[in-house]
Symmetry: C2
Subunit: 335 residues, 2 copies
């Protein structure tokens, strides 16, 4: 298959690229490096089935303007800053990649006769009043708070994806990605996994916001990628393939428990420091994955301690080994 | 003042244009007539302080591309299909005028050094779990249902308005308009006021969805316009002028009570017919106007029976008189 992937240089995008190439697909990556990393493109730069366009999907993908239909089987729209420090520094760009970016990707799929997948997020549930969250839950989101540039952009992205499905009969899929971690996350990602892992690796005190009783579910990145690939492959007759699908690990940890696991893995003597909760920080978030189980026979397989061990091993191996893609080593670029 | 108003040919836009002209302001109307009416532009076509551009704000306002700053004091972004039949026939355009349209209007305000007002909606509260709705309520909205093309577009519009305020310090205002009625509503508006008034005028049975126990609050259009003008004028030091302001009438009627009032005014013998509720139809909606009272010393002054009488008189007067703008009669155009 020929797959165009926006956000290919992001954390999730790079793992998805790797998996699609392993399966023998052709991947055209698109990224503007607003939060993606050049090293994630360079990882695949020697691969015969990989090509890359540096472009801002919010402004369009000019290379495809005049291409005849049939050059693509899938458009996967994974581009967006996703961590609070990144999207809050880029509020307008984050809003645009949810609106214009999604629409440009939808138009590309439409003109190519390709299928379309939107990477949406558990953030559409906001600070939920229903727990765990099934896809039918409408969410509890502040439409103009500090997180709204991301949350509302993704809700809009879902709405316009459904509008294209309804208006043009486009074959669309929507995944809602819950907290995901693994190798190649940016050290400055700003979310709890990278914060705590990097603090622990540096021997610093572990920062916990609030009293740490807020819960998160943590999904190892290979589990997410498996879910994406299965949703691309599924064609169950009579199933609603267009409805959103939660992809996340339902094993729930309080942030304080999570810090304790990190401490177990990396150093019993690390202190835990408590800081005030940021605005609209969700108190709990946990996927109901009934739909993914039924539709995709999918569930996460990597337990938290195992996933964290892999991530820490990767970080401790250093950049030379860290960026070794299974089977073909490519030197990491400096960025 | 020099005011650019998007959606000037809409129901609310036309009344706002009239009021601003009466106050001696210069008004530049913009509309693409996707749901606005040419007759609403023609109403003011003889007015020295009125000019009009037929343009789609979602594609930009080319006439202002190279204008030096200072040509405008205000950009009022009121363009959008607003009734369910119109926005559901134009799902993608409705999403675009909330995203690209709002951003183009914000960019125009920014480049002109003008203030900006977004006409948002009580639909951002969706099918609310809090009653009445204060501005602090986050709402309960289906992100991908049949109404999402409007609801999520407006939530996005709020989010990007706040992002421009935070990023560039733009002087922004956001109003959330609750159900509004009055002369110049489209007969095919599709919402309860026009449906029932026009059914009653035609001597037909009155259609009530569900059992009619869902409630609505109905604001006469001159009350809304008064609130808009006050919010443009206010400059209370220390007040939060950027936060959303509900503008609506807190007098709450069930749809069935409302049908009964129409029957009182127009014909005791009219039957009431019950039909199934459409998807995601909100069960109740009523503004908490504490903030508008405090910030603007504003509250609605036109009671429902009085407003309906004016609307019905206007409809019964026929198009010749109907389109008489106070003080200067202008013949109505055919459309």
């Amino acid at each position: 298959m020929k797959v165009l992937l926006t956000g290919s240089a992001g954390f999730v995008g790079s793992h998805l690229t790797e998996r699609l190439l392993e399966e023998g697909h052709r991947v055209i990556g698109v990224d503007n490096y607003i939060s993606g990393q050049r090293r994630n493109t360079e990882l695949f730069s020697g691969h015969a089935n990989f090509s890359f366009m540096e472009a801002d999907v919010s402004r369009g993908i000019p290379a495809f303007a005049d291409q005849p239909a049939g050059k693509l089987d899938w458009v996967l729209h994974f581009a967006s800053p996703a961590s609070p420090p990144h999207y809050q520094q880029n509020q307008i760009e984050t809003l645009m990649v949810g609106a214009q970016g999604t629409q440009n990707a939808l138009e590309l799929a439409r003109s190519q006769g390709a299928s379309f997948m939107l990477a949406s997020t558990s953030e559409v549930y906001g600070d939920p009043h229903v727990h765990p969250q099934p896809e039918s839950y409408w969410g509890h989101v502040n439409p103009n708070g500090l997180r709204s540039c991301y949350d509302e952009a993704k809700r809009y992205a879902e709405a316009i994806t459904f509008a294209y499905q309804r208006t043009y009969g486009l074959d669309t899929r929507v995944i809602r990605i819950f907290n995901t971690y693994g190798p190649r996350m940016r050290a400055d990602d700003g979310r709890v996994v990278t914060n705590l892992v990097h603090q622990a690796l540096r021997g610093e005190a572990l920062t916990v916001y609030g009293d740490g009783s807020q819960t998160r579910s943590f999904q190892y990145v290979s589990d997410l990628v498996e879910g994406v690939v299965r949703l691309m492959d599924v064609s169950s007759p009579g199933s609603d393939l267009h409805g959103p699908v939660n992809l996340g690990n339902p094993d729930e940890y309080s942030v304080l428990e999570f810090a304790t696991v990190i401490r177990e893995l990396l150093g019993e003597r690390l202190r835990i420091e408590f800081h005030p909760l940021p605005q609209d920080d969700p108190m709990q978030r946990r996927p109901d994955i009934t739909r993914a189980r039924a539709l995709l026979s999918w569930e996460p397989g990597v337990p938290l301690r195992e996933g964290l061990r892999r991530m820490i091993n990767d970080l401790q191996a250093g950049p030379g080994l860290r960026d070794q893609v299974r089977g073909n080593h490519i030197a990491a670029g400096a960025d």
